[in-house]
Structures are given as C-alpha cells and as structure tokens.
Amino acid sequence: MEKFIELFAGVVEESAADIRPDSALSSFPAWDSLGLVTFLAVTDQEYKKQISAQQVRDAKTVADLYNLVVG
C-alpha cells in the first residue's frame, strides 16, 4: 500500500503523508480528467496492468483504486 500511495501522491501532486487509504478521491483537486489519465498511464507502467476507465471513475477512495490495481 505504501508504494501505491507514493505513486498516487505523484499523480494528484500531494504529499504522501497526507494521503490515507480512506481519503476521498474527490478531495484532491488534481483528481480531474488529467489526473485520471495520468493514473492509468502510471499504473500501466509501474504495475503492468490496464485498469478499465469506468472502474477508475467509479472508485471513491484511495483504497478502491488500490484494490483495482493491486488487490
């Protein structure tokens, strides 16, 4: 989870220390269309995994994203 949060922090341009698994994605200003696309690219690169766009849109928290990518 730690590595994932580091990666997510880079996507939303926040400090990893401020991000918890239950953090709401809507609380990050940079979780917008650009942030979403960046997330897909980063997970493809770092985890060699393609996540469906709809699943990412449906995610509500950081933990939801983690479960999509790693879980």
């Binding site: 269309s33 650009l34 960046t38 690219a41």
Partner: protein, 350 residues
Amino acid sequence: MRVTITNIAVKGITAAVPAGEYDLLGLVPEFGQAETERLIASTGIKKLRLAPPGVTTADLSVRAAEHLIAGLGIDRSTIDGVVFVSQTPDFIMPSTAVSLQHRLGLSTDTVAFDINYGCSAYIYGVFQASMLISTGACKSVLVCAGDVITRYVNPADRSIRVVFGDASSATLVTSGSESISFHFFSDGSGGKFLVIPAGGCRLPRTQDTAVASEQENGNFRSQNDLFMDGMEVMNFALREVPKSVEQVLAQHGWAQSEVGVYGLHQANSFMLNYIRRKMKLPPEAVPVAMAETGNTGPASIPLMLSITHERLANENRLEKAVLCGFGVGLSVGSAALNLSQAKILPFVEL
C-alpha cells in the same frame, strides 16, 4: 491486417498551419495560473494554431499542396490521384478531394475522393495512395490529410481545448523502387470514445443538440461538439500502439533497434512519453513536436516531419522510419518505409 506494397516512392511531404499563434497562457484568467501551467507542463503544448473563421481544411491543403508542388518542381499535370483524409470537409457533399482537383488545377483525368479518419488518417492516406499506384491506376497521388477540428471544440471543455490545433498536409506518393509495409487495427466498439455525436444522419443537428451542459469536472459541451474520453483513448493507445508497431516491423523484416525514427501521432507529450517508455525506445528516436501547434490530428505526423526533418536527416534516421497514427475509430495504422529520399519541406502558414 498487414501488407507490403512494392514499387512505391514517397517523393515529398509538407504541411500548412494557420498563421496566428494562440498562446495557452492566455487561458490564465479563465483557468487560473496554476491550473494552466499544470496543463501545459503535462501536455507539452504551449501554443495552438487555430483556423480563423472562413479558413477550412481544404484551404490549408491547397496551401500545403502548392508549396509541395513548387518545392518538388513537378509538373502538376502528372498528378492523377487526390486523396483527402479528414473529418472536417468543406461540405457533406461533394467530397473535398474533387474540389482540390479543381483548385489545384489538376487534370480532370484524376481520381479524387475523401476518407474519413482522424489521428490515424495519415497512414490511411499513404496506404490508399500506395494501392492506387500499385494497381496501375495512378502514377502520382497527392495525399492531403488535415483537420480544422477546433471548430468542434467547445471553449468550455478544457479537457480538449488545450490540446487540439488546426493544420493540413500534402504528401506526394509515386511509383518508384521502395516498398512500404502497413498494419491496421480497427475496433469500432470504441467509436463512442472519440466522437462528434450530432450532425450526421444518426443524430441530425437540432436546437436540442446545440445546448451545452456540464459533463464532468466542470467541462461543458453539447452534442454538436467534439467529445474525447481521454482515459479510454489512453488505455487504447498504450495497449494497441506497441502491438501495431511490432506487427509492421515483423511485416517489413526490421528489428525494433534498427529503426531510426518512430513517428507517432503527435497527441501530446505526456502520452507519447508513456508509449515510448512502454516500448523501451530512446527519446531521440521518438520526435515530440507539438509544443507550438497542438495535436493536429490527421496532419500531426507530416507536420512533425516538417518540423524535425533536418535533425532526422542529419542523424540518418529517415532511411528506416516507422509511422503510427492512432485514435478515432478507434483505429491504429502503422507504416514502415524509407523516407530518406523524400523531400521534406518546412511547413508554411496561411
């Protein structure tokens, strides 16, 4: 689908863009300083070329074609085919290619027709020209690939407003001694991810289709406007572009490492850099040249070549070139070819 067409030559390539530059920093009052800078940093696009009212893709194509004909010093009466690849024709009917035949003063003994494609358009145009020559139907085919897609961009849709620009291009394909390999991939299930919903027969334009509403993340557009699902297109490109390039390399018998240049559709630097890293290609082999023009769709590959040809020629990268366009359809088209004998001219303005 993959195929190699023989006895072909790409004689010349150039592009034309609208003269006025639109600096994206002009969006600061609307989007805010931080947000605008963040968008520019990510897309790598600082300026756009926007066609003013009254200027169409056909106008830019005529400008590019005249520049190419003059630059190559050819007799225009030798051109016997015109292929116009665009999503922004002058009219629903007649086709724009036939108007180019007239405007360019080409022989009436010319075959002229349009193909509707966007970011993969250039490969379809060169493919069609190569087939016309390979069958013996034509000896010299002019391919004009371009769009004035910003006509369909809602200014309140920031997700695409900061990306798309207008341009067209001209490429002359003739009979010759080279071979070009092609690979195409089509997945119509993704048509809805890059679409102008209204304006065709499926959904005619009405007062209702012209009403813009908030779609997501504060972006507004109507059904008359261009819609792009950036996430789906990103997933598609990351998944299919490396595969298509692999296919065209296999078809042409080239190893990935021996190719001098991978001329990818100039979507934005963010996307190109991820695709490049995924394909494990060195940065110098994947030109990124949309900072001053934006994503110009069908024209983006020839426009990139017109910007970078000097470096590519000096570094001997053009002899083994792979071009790849991807996007609307959804579709991917790739070509492996020798561009070292092609006269690539700097772009011109209109």
